[in-house]
Amino acid sequence: MPNPKKRHSSCKRGQRRSHDALTATGVSTCPQCGEPKRPHYVCPSCGTYKGRTVIKKDEAL
C-alpha cells in the first residue's frame, strides 16, 4: 500500500488550507421592515420583495 513518506509540516497544512476560506454571505436591509435579509430574497420577517407582499405574515409575529 502507498504511504506518505514524510509527515507534512504545519506550514504545508496551512498552504493546503489557504484556499479553503469561506466568504461571508452578503446581507442587505429590508426596505419595508428594516430587518436584515439576503439580497434578491423575499424578506423572511415581513414577506415583502420589491415593495410587494409576497408571503402573508401575521402582525403578531
Binding site: P44, C46, T53, I55, A60
Partner: protein, 192 residues
C-alpha cells in the same frame, strides 16, 4: 455520454420528469402561484410559458398541443379561457420567480413561482406591505390563508422549544445546532 446536454433531470427518468413538469404546469394554471425548489421553478418556467403561448394562439391545434403536455381538460380550459387572455399584451416573461430562502430539513433553496398577471399577482401588488385585511377578502387567498395562518401562529411556540424549526424565525436556530453536533462528532473522532 451526456456531453453538452443542459436539461435538468432532477434524478428522474424522462417519463417521471415529464409528468412532474406537466403536473406542476397544471398547478400553475390552476393556482397561479406555487412554492417549490428554485431549480424546479426555473425548469418549470419554460414549460409554463410555452403553454401560455399556446393559449394565446387559441386554436384547436394549439389546444391539442397543450393537452398533449398538460393532460388535464380542466387545466387546459382554464389556460385558454382565463389565463391566456391576461397575457395578450405581453410578449413572454409570464412568470416571476421569487427566492424565499432555504427549506429546513435539506436546506434546499426554495422559491415561489407565480404568473405575472392574474388574481394572485394583482392582490400582492395592491396590498400595501402590512395590510393583511385586503388579502383576506380575496376568495382565492382565503383557502390557502387559513392553514398558513395556523402554521404561523404555531410557529413561535415551536420556535421557543428547542426542536422543530419551521418558520423563517427558526432558521437562525436551526443553523447553530448542526454546527454543535458536528463539532461534537469531530471531537469524538479525534479522541478515538
Amino acid at each position: 455520454m451526456r456531453h453538452n446536454r443542459d436539461e435538468k433531470r432532477f434524478d428522474r427518468t424522462y417519463s417521471h420528469l415529464k409528468s412532474m413538469l406537466s403536473n406542476m404546469t397544471n398547478d400553475m394554471v390552476m393556482y397561479g402561484r406555487i412554492r417549490t425548489t428554485t431549480p424546479k421553478a426555473k425548469a418549470l418556467r419554460s414549460h409554463v410559458e410555452k403553454m401560455i403561448t399556446l393559449g394565446k394562439d387559441g386554436g384547436l391545434s394549439a389546444r391539442r398541443r397543450a393537452f398533449a403536455f398538460m393532460k388535464s381538460k380542466a387545466a387546459v380550459t382554464r389556460l385558454f379561457e382565463t389565463i391566456a387572455p391576461l397575457f395578450k399584451e405581453r410578449n413572454g416573461g409570464y412568470t416571476r420567480i421569487l427566492k424565499v430562502g432555504n427549506r429546513p430539513g435539506d436546506n434546499a433553496s426554495m422559491a415561489i413561482i407565480e404568473l405575472v398577471e392574474g388574481p394572485q399577482a394583482a392582490q400582492a401588488a395592491e396590498a400595501a406591505p402590512k395590510k393583511k385585511a385586503v388579502k383576506k377578502a380575496a376568495p382565492a387567498a382565503a383557502a390557502k390563508k387559513a392553514p398558513a395562518k395556523e402554521k404561523k401562529e404555531a410557529a413561535p411556540k415551536k420556535a421557543a422549544a428547542p426542536r422543530k424549526p419551521k418558520a423563517a424565525a427558526a432558521e437562525g436556530e436551526a443553523a447553530p445546532k448542526p454546527a454543535v453536533k458536528r463539532t461534537r462528532k469531530k471531537a469524538t473522532d479525534t479522541e478515538a
